[in-house]
Symmetry: C2
């Protein structure tokens, strides 16, 4: 088994954090996204969408999509349960994982890709007006999330889950996207600080 | 338990199809999205994101996000397994559900919301250039999907899954978004025809 990794990019980081929280070690194949290696033959032949990470099993079966790769490992090694426990617990993790992905991670990603000059070759066409519109989408959601985080420790309940991993990665991605967490959102700041202090955050 | 439903909108339809495939009946509360009722107090108090569907359990617990609601019912009633079987089967369903959601369903949705005049009050700001850019994103993915569907019956393998439901809803949503499946993509057309012929499609 080997994991084609994309270094500092947010999706590869999601999977590395997940594996660190599970205590699972997978051999990494580094791919230099800055040098556009993810568009080369080694990645493209495995993922025609040319995105990372890509997991290749020993029988050459390929899995792509960060959350699908995480779910594969969660099924192989259920403890600790990062997708929740029980029907309602699992549904709540799915709900918050998706809410954070669609209303924070994606808007931050679009704000970065459609505005940052370094992304001109990545995002065609860059639509700066769309990028700017996403900054307020992300900020609107952070207000909602802050109210939720005043009620509990983690995004989906009292236990750490993949929803928190997506949240940590999204908030760290705000820096290159030039969006700041407003200082009055003290619950988001407390939550992000606790996630960033976990050993997995540096995976 | 009750399900706040949004009629013809694609996400409420995803959940109704899923429930029909499972043979599960849930009391529906109709919400007239054309009259903007999803922004009224009844929905907003349950989902501050003002989106449908919303599932309310008997103890007033609220679940939102179509796929989270589907996963809740899948956990309560695992057969037939619409999220896959076994670690690899579940990971493949997750992979294709996400690939179809991010590369077809979302682009079609953006093409509709950012271009269609009726969406002016829904999507602020409408960015027509972004809407148009999404048409080719959707078409590019359909070419990839067509090649995959030449190898197997359903999106994620030999069994029907939630990835197919997302695909059916996305392709039907292409009509109001004014995007057509190119006639040479015969595998996509065969697949869509088979999904549309299932009794669940009219749920």
């Amino acid at each position: 088994m080997k994991l084609y990794d994309g270094g500092r990019a947010p999706n590869p980081r999601r999977v590395r954090i997940f594996l660190a929280e599970k205590g699972i070690s997978v051999p990494l194949v580094p791919v230099d996204m800055g040098a556009m290696e993810h568009r080369g033959g080694e990645v493209t032949s495995r993922n025609p969408l040319q995105r990372l990470p890509v997991l290749e099993l020993d029988d050459r079966t390929v899995l792509t999509e960060s959350v699908a790769i995480c779910r594969y490992f969660d099924e192989l090694q259920p403890e600790p349960p990062l997708f929740g426990r029980g029907a309602l617990g699992k549904a709540k993790v799915e709900m918050w994982q998706r809410r954070i992905e669609f209303n924070l991670f994606q808007p931050v990603s679009h704000a970065f890709r459609h505005v940052h000059p370094a992304m001109k070759e990545w995002e065609k066409p860059q639509v700066p007006e769309w990028g700017e519109a996403n900054k307020s989408k992300a900020l609107d959601f952070l207000v909602l999330l802050d109210a939720e985080l005043s009620l509990r420790e983690f995004a989906a309940g009292d236990a750490f889950s993949i929803a928190d991993i997506t949240g940590l990665v999204a908030i760290d991605f705000m820096k290159p996207a030039r969006i700041s967490v407003p200082p009055e959102l003290t619950n988001v700041t407390r939550w992000h600080g606790a996630l960033a202090a976990r050993p997995s955050a540096s995976a």
